[in-house]
């Protein structure tokens, strides 16, 4: 039952913020829309900009697990399948949370999940409804 609830309401944990590049027009997002992005079902923002997912490399990411329903290894394999079948583009990676913020700030259409205590600069926080 827990996994059923998780599937329907893939909210990120409370100590995590959803950040996007400042060029993204959207100001808020639903939990379902967030899951659709991380599972490759939504590839474009409302303005038509291509969604670029940014994640931490080589780490266990509970927020990613919660939002996508996949652990880091499954998530990587899942996106490799999309990339090599021509149906998606591989998420960009950063080595730490600070670099992840910089990556989102410098990449059009980028989105990432970052700890709430990480200083933010040049990015926009998306409100999860």
């Amino acid at each position: 039952m827990l996994s059923l609830v998780r599937g329907l309401h893939a909210n990120p944990p409370a100590n995590v913020r959803v950040i996007v590049n400042e060029g993204v027009r959207d100001g808020s997002i639903t939990a379902t829309e967030l899951k659709n992005i991380y599972t490759g079902r939504t590839n474009y923002w409302d303005g038509g900009e291509h969604v670029v997912i940014a994640v931490l490399s080589d780490s266990t990411d509970e927020a990613l697990d919660e939002v996508s329903g996949m652990d880091a290894s499954e998530f990587r394999t899942f996106w490799q399948r999309l990339v090599f079948s021509g149906r998606g583009e591989e998420p960009r990676t950063a080595t730490d949370a600070g670099s992840l913020v910089e990556l989102v700030a410098s990449t059009r259409g980028a989105i990432a999940l970052v700890p709430a205590d990480v200083p933010l600069k040049g990015v926009k926080v998306l409100h999860v409804k």
């Binding site: 599937g7 079902r41 474009y44 652990d71 490799q80 399948r81 090599f84 583009e89």
Partner: protein
């Protein structure tokens, strides 16, 4: 299907091809190492132009079997199991993406490293509900059809051959045409993902279909030509509200598949044309639960001869698999599959073991790094219906046999 009277001897080039494959693989490794072991983003047209993203992979396998030669000259150990791929994609305009991929493969006598344009397509996404792509596109069918080349995307060295024949990818994977795709939300019932396509298939004279036809022809016959058959079909996935569960159904229809062969006679060659229509169905279930992946699929292929008297051949295949990931570098899995030939095709077979093949496999996958994996796999196989190499397997007995498969893949 073949009959023993059709047995013919052909020169075997497996060992040379294995060496060639190894050389090609080393070249790919060197190219990747000299560059960067990660995806490359190039801005070829200045900083404001869209990024072009490049990815690639190179796989080398090794097969060693008892009893029979399968997917190459495996009784003596075969390196003729190689896959190479390179792709590029970019988003030139809003909601628009262009992607292309080239591959080359060699599995036993199939493929022969002929470069294949796997896909080259333009895609426009109107919204989440509907998009369209055209060009050479990947044909969706089940969990793995469009990613058969991608060793990274699965636990196993060999996909269950009862459903995904490693030699037939030139026929099954791509088509020239268009498809509509999208995801329709179903509220509390989850969502429905769909792809509906139409176009033509361009099978290779070095691919699995050509190989099977040659295998069935009598020694005096020569395969001259395969046509470019039209194809329509679709794939539907119900993404259930239970997290990680999806159920799929796919259908494909090829109204007229034709091949032409000629027979040498004392009075000159005689040409013969064989026409058939093909209807395929595939049903799939996948459930991801914690570190487990459970999958099961079944397929049914009806091949109806369009010549009088018309005959029908049915191929049935299914498998069930489970895989468990212990940590980020170790994963293990097992599957069991069965394949049967029914109808007119079965009637032409004189050996009982040529009417079926059952395979139980256990695999271990090591993710040495995010970009380099290594797999070890053991098979116990009963039946010979999928051998499709009469020259290398002149005798069939109704016995079980073993095979070990090793494979390593690098990607960027």
């Amino acid at each position: 299907m073949f009959t023993p009277s059709h047995l013919k001897m052909r020169k075997t080039r497996h060992r040379n091809k294995g060496l060639f494959g190894s050389a090609l693989l080393l070249a790919a490794i060197a190219a990747i190492s000299i560059g960067q072991s990660r995806a490359a983003d190039w801005q070829l047209f200045g900083p404001n132009a869209p990024d072009i993203e490049f990815h690639g992979f190179a796989s080398q396998g090794f097969l060693d079997s008892t009893g029979y030669n399968y997917l190459g000259a495996s009784k003596n150990g075969s390196l003729a199991y190689t896959e190479l791929g390179l792709n590029a994609s970019f988003n030139p305009f809003p909601r628009t993406r262009i992607a292309l991929q080239g591959i080359a493969y060699d599995v036993g006598d199939a493929g022969k490293y002929d470069p294949i344009l796997d896909y080259a397509m333009a895609e426009y996404t109107f919204n989440d509900y509907i998009g369209i792509r055209g060009g050479r596109i990947q044909r969706p069918q089940g969990i793995y059809n469009d990613i058969q080349d991608l060793d990274l995307g699965r636990t196993f060295v060999l996909l269950p051959q009862a459903v995904y024949d490693a030699r037939w990818r030139d026929f099954y994977e791509s088509l020239d045409g268009a498809d509509l795709f999208g995801t329709i939300p179903l509220g509390a019932c989850g969502s429905l993902t769909y792809e509906i396509y139409g176009g033509v298939i361009r099978p290779s004279m070095d691919g699995g279909v050509a190989l099977e036809i040659r295998n069935e022809l009598p020694p005096s016959a020569h395969l001259d030509e395969l046509n470019t058959p039209k194809v329509i079909g679709g794939q539907f996935w119900w993404n259930a509200p239970l997290d990680g569960l999806r159920l799929g159904a796919a259908g494909v229809y090829i109204p007229s598949f034709t091949f032409t062969n000629s027979f040498e006679t004392p009075f000159g060659p005689i040409r013969s044309v064989t026409k058939s229509s093909v209807v395929g169905q595939q049903y799939s279930a996948e459930y991801l639960w914690k570190a487990w992946t459970f999958q099961s699929e079944g397929c049914f292929l009806a091949n109806t001869s369009r010549l009088a008297p018309s005959t029908n051949e049915y191929d049935l295949g299914w498998y069930a698999s489970a895989a468990y990931r212990f940590n980020k570098w170790l994963e293990t899995g097992a599957y069991y599959d069965e394949y049967y030939i029914q109808g007119a095709g079965k009637a032409t077979l004189t050996s009982h073991s040529d009417t079926f093949q059952k395979d139980a496999a256990v695999a271990v996958r090591f993710d040495v790094t995010n970009r380099w994996i290594f797999k070890v796999e053991g098979h116990y196989i009963h039946g010979t219906a999928l051998l499709e190499d009469n020259a290398l397997n002149p005798e069939r007995r109704d016995n079980g046999w073993w095979m070990i498969a090793l494979k390593s893949t690098i990607s960027f």
